[in-house]
């Protein structure tokens, strides 16, 4: 008697779970303008959606895509998923798939192996995995995407050089790692386009995010004479240091967030909707083919914030002009001759670096003072 009751209870419980599962799915589908969403997109975020930085730029792109493709997209997400732990990223992806997601967007490099395993497992062939910043893919449902942030860095470098009277620019950098060094080098080349004698001082802080350390590094750079500070790290602490100094400009990163008022020049950031909208559209149309996507200023994935009025008008015009050329595909950031600051050659006269060439950068260019060991 007790046993049958127990079995019955378990069955009821199971059914409830099943039905509520269906229920919530169809509920949300019936919402909005009455059309059923064809895509349920699940995002795995490394941070929180209001972090004023990387995750917020991802999230706002997601929201824009949902709005733009009105009614066809439903968004789910999980925040603060550790990317150092393959089981955490796998759990997050499985959780989203269980909620009915048929597209999974992984927004950090460290999710790569988990997503690859799921994509190739054969169990989730109807799910499309879109991985930010990775280098793995397959032929059917696993794609990676990134962008030429060097273009935005170049333009912000131009802006920085235009307001630094003594030509000293400070750069708070996370680790001496290729992605960071590409940014430093592009920034420097842009600055040199405005003032050939510019000096970019770099401090490697040895962490992706520690606001206190970031701020201290910015303060050290300001003490060493930097009149503009810019950063490749998670928080806006560098902007805070500029604001406290009172006469030092700052350039934002990842997301157009101003934490230093009038001293904010612009920001280099990810406009992720530019990737999400066409990609989701192609998945819905059935024309999606995985690729190693490298977005550019032309696609709109790479963007800079509105230019501050502190930037002289002639330089503003020059920046707009360079931006237009980048959008038209007529301007390459890494065009020779470019030398590393140890004298070795990065790029010969007349040569331009392709994507692979850019991603093999491992030192800083001439004009940069940095110790990368």
């Amino acid at each position: 008697m007790k046993k049958t009751l127990a079995i019955l209870l378990v069955l009821v419980l199971g059914m409830t779970v099943l039905f509520t599962g269906c229920g919530s799915g169809s509920d949300e589908a019936a919402g909005g303008d009455g059309t059923e969403p064809t895509l349920k997109v699940g995002y795995i975020f490394i941070g929180a959606i209001n972090d004023g930085g990387f995750t917020q730029s991802m999230y706002e792109g997601a929201m824009k895509a949902e709005e733009e493709l009105g009614g066809q997209i439903e968004t789910k997400y999980i925040e603060n998923v550790s990317d150092g732990d393959i089981s955490a990223s796998t759990d997050a992806a499985m959780n989203l798939i269980d909620q009915g997601c048929n597209v999974i967007v992984g927004c950090s490099y460290g999710y790569m192996d988990a997503l690859e395993a799921l994509a190739n497992s054969g169990d989730y062939d109807d799910v499309t995995f879109l991985h930010f910043s990775g280098n793995k893919m397959n032929d059917t449902n696993f794609d990676n995407w990134f962008g030429s942030m060097e273009q935005a860095r170049y333009l912000t470098g131009m802006a920085a050089a235009s307001v630094a009277k003594n030509g000293v620019l400070g750069y708070v950098a996370a680790h001496p790692y290729t992605e960071v060094q590409i940014g430093i080098n592009a920034f420097t080349l842009g600055a040199q386009a405005v003032n050939p004698d510019v000096e970019v001082k770099v401090v490697y802080i040895g962490t992706w995010g520690d606001a206190e350390i970031e701020k201290t590094a910015a303060e050290q750079l300001i003490q060493a004479g930097a009149e503009v500070v810019c950063y490749h790290a998670d928080s806006t602490a560098t902007q805070v240091a500029a604001a406290e100094a009172g006469d030092v400009y700052a350039i934002g990163w990842n997301y157009p967030q101003n934490d230093c008022g009038d001293l904010y020049l612009t920001a280099a950031y990810w406009n992720t909707a530019a990737y999400f909208i066409p990609t989701f559209q192609s998945i819905m149309d059935g024309t999606f083919k995985p690729q190693s996507y490298y977005g550019t200023m032309a696609d709109g994935l790479i963007a800079i914030d509105e230019l501050s009025d502190a930037i002289p008008d002639d330089v503003k015009a020059k920046i707009e002009d360079t931006k237009a050329k980048m959008e038209a595909g007529e301007f390459e950031v890494f065009t020779g001759p470019i030398k590393y600051n140890d004298g070795s050659v990065l790029c010969e006269e007349g040569q331009t670096l392709d994507r692979a060439g850019i991603w093999s950068i491992n030192k800083e260019v001439e004009g940069v003072t940095a110790i990368s060991k």
Binding site: G52, V203, I205, G206, A211, T216, Q223, A237, A370
Partner: protein, 308 residues
Amino acid sequence: MATFLASCVVAGIPLLFATIGELLTEKAGNLNLGVEGMMLMGAALGFITAYNTSNPGLTLLAAVLAGAGGALIYAIVTVTLRANNVVTGLTLTIFGTGFSKFIGQPYLGSSVPAEVSAFFARRAIPVLGDIPFIGPIFFRQDLFTYFAYIVCILSAVYLYKTQMGLNLKAVGENTAAADASGINITLYKYIHIIVGGALCGLGGAYLSIVRIPIWQEDVVNGRGWIAVALVIFVAWNPIKAFFGSILFGGLSILGMKLQVLGLDFSQYLFDMIPYVATIIIVVFATHKKSREAQGPGDLGNNYFREER
């Protein structure tokens, strides 16, 4: 040079609060590894109060109560319920980290109101601030920093010059003997654990209110653990803690300074030194005859009166 040393002081202040807090706790015979968690709780509640009330006084009160609240949980579990010190402390760190993320979530990216920032802005102390070299380093800082100096001096006087301080030492050194001599050990433990937690809360609030007046997760970022190591490094002495904190704070930024100067040093190297130095000190202390350098005798042991 003076500006760099002033930066070292700034980097050392959160460590100093937490170190004195943990020092008082350990003097009472309790090893509280929840420093990191209590700092984060102070940072989060301090920030939220500042944001919602724009009142510097309430901000400080909230930070103190947050740290003290965390410590109270620890005290109940270890002193009254006699649970394992280490495990409870670690749990408190995990709890505090999660708690600060949870209650801070809606505030991510928000800034401390201008009134509060202005209150805690740097201001020079008249006369003292004008002393050459010393003045710019120590006496042109913010109110938090001056308060840290006072806490440091008061705790030294308290520990070495008062009857209560002596009693406290006895509690940590040999709880059974202290109990037999009529000291209310439970009261002593509770008070010092809670005051210690309150100081940790202030250390965290210094980071979230003064240093980085924009809320973000994990603003403490391991400094609580450095404070735990510092207590051993400075041999449970508040005056040494003052210099130790500035030294360890300085080490956390020395690599960056050298990079700016164009010297070939990695910040990774300097990030290791506090821990390596502590290990070396522990090894030496074990071989030294001095009791002082080895810490309170009953540190981390739960006390059962009936077991005597």
